[in-house]
């Protein structure tokens, strides 16, 4: 019964979590945001007391139930492990294994150190985002599952179009960042292989959240225990334990690794495995706990020694990394090269030069300009705030309906979101990213607030402007600027009737990228946005 409840809850949460990432309509974000906000690492980074208290209490009361019903990455592994167990002869493929104490503790300390260093200094939290289970789930869902989901949607849209229905509409499907895609793929394959092989081995050896909750879950109020009076030492519970934390010979359960899945309860034919309030009356449990506690205390002492040295190593490693970043890793083609040939070429099919009717001008895709300072979305407050809080779960990237947010390729902000305007611009009615961010990297804002938050400043590139290049009037940027930050002024100051070019009022520009995206100059726009390191209101 308990096991069935656990599985039902896990299914529900997993579906909600995956819908939260995959939904591109924005309809579910407000309703499902809690799924991300309850996740431990984002909650720590966001300083969200409510979530922390909830997760803490849950674990103190019931053990690592979090890992079984709240962590979508854990649930995913359960699914894979279940499938693996369906193979012939693999129904009871587990057996008790020793805890990989050093690995667990080192990784936890690295992550804790990274969070502390980043909050007091300016250290990147890449290690956190690489190890955080929520971030990994988000990346896998956004990079691997979302394209499939969107492809399916486009198929439906194709059908709908032929049925004159407006129920579905096509969306763009493309890989937004090769790095984020690669990381997601490697993690998906790695985790899948581990889960296929040994169930929750990732959660109990690598995952820092697992290790941390393992600290709290040693003596939960409600706990799984083996009633030695009923136990026949048949060992079936051990073989069914995907955490490999039941030692059936000794009758002990390592609750730092137990994810409270209740598989053992259902497996036991003698009713010996129970989930109940911890009580010394139960023979054997007390002694087992005492034994374990002593073991643990020794282990911790050993580890503390090792780790004090490690902290220093981490810091020096990080310093090194930062040094490397000063080099611009991804210098794209220089803007100077942007003076593109006019795309305008009427199709000439006649022997005689006649301007014929019809046809379409070829479109040239926009290329990303070199931005000296990256643009982070409104609500992020500053590049630093983003860098400190973001676990790179890609939820905002997935939520952005305008194709503006993409994962960064710079090492110090690797896979964290930044804005770019080749495929769209930050539209005035949209605050989707601020609604989904669980980590306090993008704080909740309203469209009204957003209209006054300056995330960047526009710059005009004289040589790209079609007014200069094609000698035609153009008012595109001026007409579409939502804050009227662009005025058109005569190109030739001496001649008030000469063609007009844009002049940008930096005190009004909010860096939304409307001008950059709509600019008719391709592949490089004649007006582009540089990010503001710290956002301000206009």
């Amino acid at each position: 019964m308990l096991r069935k409840i656990r599985i039902t809850l896990a299914w529900v949460l997993f579906i909600l979590a995956i819908l939260l990432v995959l939904d591109f309509s924005g309809a579910l974000h407000l309703w499902l945001g809690w799924v991300a906000k309850v996740q431990l690492v984002p909650a720590v980074l966001a300083g969200s007391a409510l979530s922390l208290i909830f997760v803490g209490l849950l674990t103190l009361l019931f053990g690592r139930l979090y890992c079984s019903v709240l962590c979508p990455l854990g649930i995913m592994q359960d699914g894979i492990s279940y499938l693996s167990g369906r193979r012939k002869g693999k129904k009871a493929r587990f057996r008790y294994s020793k805890e990989l104490k050093s690995l667990r503790w080192i990784l936890l300390v690295i992550v804790v150190a990274a969070i502390i260093f980043s909050s007091i200094g300016n250290h990147p939290i890449l290690t956190v985002s690489l190890l955080d289970p929520w971030a990994n789930f988000g990346r896998i869902a956004q990079n691997i599952f979302a394209p499939l989901w969107r492809g399916g949607n486009n198929l439906l849209a194709w059908v709908a179009e032929r049925m004159d229905s407006y129920a579905f509409h096509s969306v763009d499907v493309y890989i937004k960042s090769g790095i984020a895609f690669g990381v997601a793929l490697v993690w998906l394959v790695g985790i899948a292989v581990l889960a296929w092989w040994k169930g929750r081995v990732y959660c109990n050896s690598i995952c820092p959240v697992g290790t941390f909750l393992g600290l709290l879950s040693r003596f939960p109020l409600m706990r799984i225990s083996i009633d030695e009076s009923k136990c026949t030492k048949c060992g079936v519970c051990e073989k069914k334990c995907k955490s490999e934390c039941i030692n059936s010979k000794k009758g002990t359960i390592d609750r730092s690794r137990c994810v409270v899945c209740f598989d053992c309860l259902d497996a036991c034919n003698f009713g010996a495995v129970k989930f109940r309030i911890g009580s010394p009356v139960v023979v054997g449990i007390g002694t087992a706990d005492e034994k374990e506690t002593k073991e643990l205390e020794d282990g911790v002492k050993e580890l503390e020694k090792e780790l004090s040295g490690l902290e220093n190593t981490i810091e020096t490693a990080m310093k090194k990394k930062r040094g490397m970043n000063r080099r611009n890793f991804f210098s794209i083609a220089a803007l100077a090269a942007a003076a593109s040939p006019a795309a305008v070429k009427a199709q000439q099919v006649d022997r005689i030069l006649l301007q014929v009717d019809g046809g379409l001008t070829d479109l040239i895709d926009k290329k990303r300009p070199v931005r000296k300072s990256p643009i982070v979305p409104p609500g992020a407050q500053s590049a630093r705030n983003m860098q400190k809080h973001c676990v790179a779960c890609q939820l905002c990237v997935a939520a952005c309906p305008n194709n503006v947010l993409v994962p960064s390729s710079k090492l110090e902000t690797l896979m964290q979101p930044e804005m770019t305007y080749e495929r769209g611009y930050c539209r005035p009615e949209c605050v989707e990213c601020s609604e989904v961010c669980p980590a306090g990297a993008i704080l909740k804002i309203t469209p009204a607030e957003k209209s006054a938050i300056s995330v960047g400043n526009a710059f005009w590139i004289e040589g790209n402007c079609v007014v200069n290049r094609d000698n035609v009037p153009c008012t595109e940027c001026e007409r579409h600027c939502p804050t009227k930050a662009i005025t058109l002024v005569p190109r030739d100051p001496a001649d008030p009737r000469s063609l007009k070019v844009p002049a940008i009022d930096n005190t009004l520009c909010i860096g939304c990228g409307t001008c950059e995206n709509l600019c008719p100059s391709n592949p490089y726009s004649a007006i582009y946005v540089e990010g503001n390191v710290t956002h301000h209101t206009v």
């Binding site: 509409h169 009427a346 019809g358 379409l360 001008t361 539209r427 094609d470 035609v472």
Partner: protein
């Protein structure tokens, strides 16, 4: 030049049979005994091959089918390289079918379909006896060439493409923007004199012109040097007859003037680029009330074909279904009666009050140098107007559905980078529009509407 269906050769007949197979449904319907309608179908009606209405050109004696084939919108396909090209096989099928059912007037121009129309039309027509069709083409030089040699080359090229050694109908294309332009294109360079000489030599059988623009220019050209024009092509439909919208001139005035001068009239835009084929529901109700089976297009064609001095009504038929529907209208054509005219008065009131952009999708404005698909943007907007999907206020009933239909349909029919918000207002298209649409202004209007919906603003 007597062309009736009895003259169809066996060879032609076989070709027609082949073309007919393409449209099996209609062909099957055609096999049914005339007038039988049953629960199994047969509503579509027969397409007779010998019932076409003809009109006679008083100057040349040509017996011209009242339905003329406009060759401005031939079907396109993608070739192996992914480039667009004319779907010549389909063009052949359409031309064969049209000829077999009595259509004998084909109107093309050097600039149509990106300059491909003349060759495609010539390829299809040259497979038939030269005396089985009349072909019309044009001096399409509103934007040059202006020198006599260039103009002559254009004229000769038309004959090459059409594979003929004489042209039945030759038009000064799109006259009417200004008297100066008429002089520059035809008078000062001696091109008109050359064409008159060609007519005398028999290489042009009928000389005329097509008109868009200012009535003063119309009067001027009609009276120019007392030339007896053999025909004139004007825009005529029930919306443009007396109180046209936009830059059109009242067709009644043009028609009456032409009758006075004994100039037969060729009708273009009888459907206003298809807009009169998709009328709002209120107008539909009026029309269907009288003739439940007749489409709005049939009404519009009959309206254009009824006046006695109309020589032919041009329709750009891209699909076999269009051709067949029009053949049903014109073979034979039943003239309009007073009750029907009264209904069209009411319909045209409804249309005048609707929010249409007066685009006929002629594509003269294309290609837009900044990538817009101007006719598609307007077509989408007009489609939504026709369906009653364009909202007057955000409080309108059905706001959500209409918003979705407009925005989703917009993205489907026009790629994002070719939509109205990409118009930079460079105004290069302005002089090219024969309907005088202020394209940049209309683009701003469409975009403002789309933006209101996207941002869910109150309006």
């Amino acid at each position: 030049m007597k062309k009736t269906n009895k003259d169809i050769t066996r060879r032609d007949f076989l070709k027609v049979a082949g073309a007919g197979a393409v449209v099996s449904v209609a062909a099957l319907a055609g096999c049914r005994p005339a007038g039988t309608i049953s629960a199994q179908g047969g509503e579509a009606g027969d397409i007779p091959t010998d019932q076409m209405t003809y009109r006679t050109n008083p100057h040349s004696g040509d017996r011209v089918s009242l339905l003329g084939y406009g060759c401005m919108r031939w079907p396109l396909r993608r070739n192996e390289a992914g480039e667009q090209e004319i779907d010549q096989e389909t063009v052949n099928d359409l031309v064969d079918y049209a000829l077999a059912h009595g259509v004998n007037y084909f109107d093309t121009a050097p600039v149509y379909v990106r300059g491909w129309s003349e060759a495609a039309t010539g390829n299809a027509l040259s497979r038939h006896p030269r005396d089985s069709y009349f072909v019309a083409t044009k001096a399409s030089n509103p934007r040059g060439p202006f020198d006599l040699e260039g103009c002559k080359a254009m004229y000769r090229q038309s004959m090459d493409f059409l594979k003929v050694d004489y042209l039945d109908y030759y038009l000064l294309h799109n006259v009417g923007s200004s008297i100066e332009s008429f002089h520059e294109r035809f008078v000062e360079n001696g091109f008109l004199d050359f064409l008159i000489a060609e007519k005398a030599a028999g290489r042009i059988r009928n000389l005329g012109w097509s008109f868009h623009g200012n009535p003063e220019v119309f009067d001027y050209v009609l009276a120019f040097r007392d030339i007896q024009w053999d025909f004139c092509q004007i825009q005529l439909n029930y919306q443009d007859w007396q109180y046209p919208i936009g830059a059109s001139v009242a067709a009644k005035y043009l028609y009456d003037e032409l009758v006075k001068k004994n100039v037969p009239v060729v009708i273009m835009e009888p459907l206003l680029g298809g807009r009169l084929a998709r009328v709002p529901a209120g107008a539909q109700a009026l029309m269907r009330g009288l003739h439940p089976q007749d489409t709005p297009a049939k009404w519009a064609f009959r309206y254009a074909g009824t006046p006695e001095s109309v020589l032919t009504v041009l329709s750009g038929m891209v699909y076999m279904e269009h051709l067949q529907e029009n053949l049903r209208t014109f073979a034979p054509m039943e003239p309009m009666n007073e009750a029907e005219y009264a209904i069209l008065d009411d319909v045209s009131d409804i249309l005048a009050n609707a929010d249409y952009i007066q685009c006929t999708t002629c594509e003269y404005c294309m290609p837009c140098p900044y990538g817009l698909d101007i006719p598609q943007v307007f077509a989408h907007y007009n489609k939504c107007v026709g369906e009653g999907q364009v909202l007057h206020s955000s409080g309108d009933e059905g706001y959500r559905a209409a918003r979705r239909a407009f925005l989703v349909g917009y993205d489907r029919s026009v790629p994002k980078l070719r939509q109205a918000n990409r118009c930079i207002q460079c105004e290069q298209c302005l002089p090219k529009c024969p309907q005088g649409i202020k394209i940049p202004t209309e683009m701003e209007r469409v975009d403002a509407y789309a933006e209101k919906l996207r941002q869910k603003l109150q309006f």
